[in-house]
């Protein structure tokens, strides 16, 4: 009853139709007819037949742990307790199709034009369209608020909380309405629905991606590592006089890192195939874009999804970048070491100066000033290159760096007994600042870093499962049973684990929870929230 209510709400609130109408529709009748003949069309002697009879839960666990061949052997003649829900499959699929149709109405004219353009485009042009689509579906609230200060951090935290609050973000097309980056409240599900609607319009192949490890988390881990290295070096070298903006950014950065570390959530995005077979991940809500490299083995994964899509439409297959993202940590680590070493060398070179004029000369002769200008200047490269050929400009910059904010106040400079130390410390920490800012660049938008661990699945069916999950009012055994019967995904298993986290759970909830626990524990990759919940089961 709870599930039927939730489906009814999805259709009425989100798609402008009703459960009754859908149940009477031709589309539903066709789906139901196909569903009824599944067993006959897929006898137990076939691979699909074996999967059908083993159900989502058993086959999902096996195929994701021991591989397809072994899974088919292990799943033969199995009598599963979960995962063979059949009756509601046509309704789930029909609900998904309605959601995508309604999401199509939320696409702007520009996006619809991109879909038209798609069919006459080459693979590279289609990748450009994917990139444009990615940028188009980013929300204004996601933009950077400016340089890292305490005030900007507070503003960013406030904006993040306001724009991502559960009551603000909407899942269903008629709730979030026509897309615009400023005020459309579509959440990750909404944006994924729009991406699928785009793909359907463009007649492009699309699959749904549930990241288990988020690219943003990888970036944060790297940033945290760099932060610790930078602060460690500053402490070790007894650099006591940090300039004010840098000191404030370091303090705000620490808070920012902690805030982000605690931010775990289930997420969804989409992957679209371009004409030459490559798959492009588009995640405008989680800010990740890129072409899936060979390490993802996408052709095999998609082929496998296709093979079982009819018999197990809720099957999610695990895929990873095979640890490719770890090399980014090594790259960042190496770069930070290089920059710190240059800072040490610069400090040694500048230490010979005993007054501001000598410090200016030493800075110019250090060979680092060009790098400092290029790293911090916001002017375009052409103008900058021209300026860097002018020795007077270089000298002026060195003077500005050495004399600092008191450049027009020689009296203050003369009276400040710590002046030389302060300026030296300011100059030599500029390399630390560069190290910390390197990761503001393109890694998660140019394909260097893609959500490294994901579950991949069929679009419409999965969109409906997620929407139903969002619209359920109360998680009782009936609800958890539904998700375990009709889908194999970690969000559903996470919810089911609740049954074994409380000593007052009823028998059915415990049984469902234990089944989820068994599957999750077997999987090679788990969502951090699942890992956390698994560590708390009784």
């Amino acid at each position: 009853m709870e599930i039927m209510n939730a489906i009814g709400k999805v259709l009425a609130l989100g798609c402008g139709t009703t459960l009754e109408k859908v149940l009477r529709s031709k589309c539903y009748a066709t789906l139901e007819k196909t569903n009824k003949t599944l067993e006959a069309r897929h006898p137990s002697s076939t691979d699909a037949g074996v999967a059908l009879r083993a159900g989502h839960m058993e086959f999902g666990r096996l195929i994701n742990t021991v591989g397809e061949r072994q899974a088919l052997v292990g799943a033969k003649d199995i009598t599963p307790d979960f995962g063979i829900g059949m009756e509601l499959r046509p309704l789930i699929q029909a609900t998904g199709e309605h959601i995508i149709r309604a999401a199509g109405k939320c696409l702007t004219l520009d996006i619809k034009n991109m879909a038209k353009q798609w069919q006459n485009s080459t693979a590279d042009q289609q990748i450009d369209i994917c990139r444009a689509l990615y940028h188009c579906l980013r929300s204004t609230s996601q933009d950077s608020k400016g340089d890292l200060t305490m005030e900007v951090l507070m503003e960013s935290m406030e904006s993040h909380m306001k724009s991502n609050a559960h009551e603000v973000r909407k899942v269903l097309p008629q709730q979030y309405g026509m897309w615009n980056p400023d005020s459309c409240v579509a959440n990750c599900q909404g944006k994924t629905q729009m991406l699928i609607a785009f793909a359907r319009l463009a007649k492009a192949r699309v699959i749904v991606v549930h990241p288990l490890k988020h690219a943003g988390k990888v970036i944060n881990a790297i940033r945290h590592h760099i932060y610790e290295k930078v602060v460690g070096d500053i402490t070790k070298r007894n650099i006591t006089h940090l300039d004010k903006p840098f000191a404030e950014s370091l303090q705000a950065g620490r808070i920012d890192l902690f805030r982000r570390a605690a931010d775990e959530y289930f997420h969804v995005c989409a992957c679209i195939q371009v004409v030459d077979g490559r798959w492009v991940l588009i995640d405008p809500h989680g800010l990740n874009f890129g072409i899936m490299g060979e390490e993802w083995n996408m052709p095999e994964i998609v082929e496998r999804l296709d093979r079982y899509s009819e018999v197990l439409p809720g099957l999610h297959l695990l895929a990873t970048d095979k640890g490719r993202h770890e090399r980014l940590m090594k790259m960042a680590d190496k770069r930070t070491d290089e920059l710190i070493a240059r800072s040490v060398k610069l400090e040694q070179h500048l230490a010979i100066a005993s007054n501001p004029i000598e410090l200016i000369d030493a800075l110019i002769s250090s060979g680092e000033i060009r790098f400092m200008i290029e790293s911090f200047s916001k002017h375009d490269q052409e103008k900058l290159d021209k300026a860097l050929t002018d020795p007077e400009y270089i000298r002026l910059v060195a003077m500005t760096f050495v004399l600092g904010e008191n450049i027009w106040d020689p009296f203050r400079i003369m009276m400040d007994t710590d002046f030389m130390k302060k300026r030296l410390h300011s100059i030599i920490t500029s390399h630390h600042c560069v190290a910390m800012n390197e990761l503001n660049h393109q890694w998660s938008e140019d394909g260097m870093l893609i959500h490294p661990e994901c579950e991949l699945t069929n679009p419409e069916y999965s969109v409906a499962i997620s929407a139903i999950n969002s619209l359920v009012d109360h998680y009782g055994p009936e609800v958890n049973r539904f998700f375990m019967d009709y889908s194999f995904d970690q969000t559903s298993m996470f919810n089911a684990l609740r049954g074994i986290m409380s000593r007052w759970s009823d028998e059915e909830s415990i049984m469902i929870g234990k089944a989820a626990e068994k599957s999750l524990k077997a999987l090679p990759v788990q969502h951090p929230l699942c890992r956390l919940r698994l560590s708390h089961v009784i």
């Binding site: 950077s144 200060t149 940033r223 950014s249 900058l384 400009y393 500005t400 890694w443």
Partner: protein, 91 residues
């Protein structure tokens, strides 16, 4: 860092007025309430605004919620600007 911002010069007067008034984040509804005639430049302005968002994405890159770390050296450089063009005088 490269400045990729989209020039406003090519915009029509109405679109330019919207761009000057709102930048790429202001409220369009508010601006149109004040001056409904600006609606004429709305489509063109929206395209400019989308291009601005895209350019900003490329500029900031990565996780664009991330705010860059500040440093006094950057501020000093910003204040200093680039050298002015020299005037060559006949001797």
């Amino acid at each position: 860092m490269i400045d990729n911002s989209t020039p406003k010069d090519s915009l029509s007067p109405k679109a330019r007025a919207l761009a000057d008034q709102l930048g790429h984040t202001g409220s369009i509804a508010e601006a149109l309430k004040k001056d409904p005639s600006l609606a004429e430049g709305l489509d063109e302005y929206q395209k400019w605004r989308d291009a601005e968002h895209q350019a900003e994405g490329q500029r900031i890159g990565s996780d664009s919620r991330q705010q860059p770390v500040k440093h006094g050296v950057a501020e000093a450089l910003k204040k200093l600007g680039l050298p002015p063009k020299r005037k060559h005088k006949k001797k």
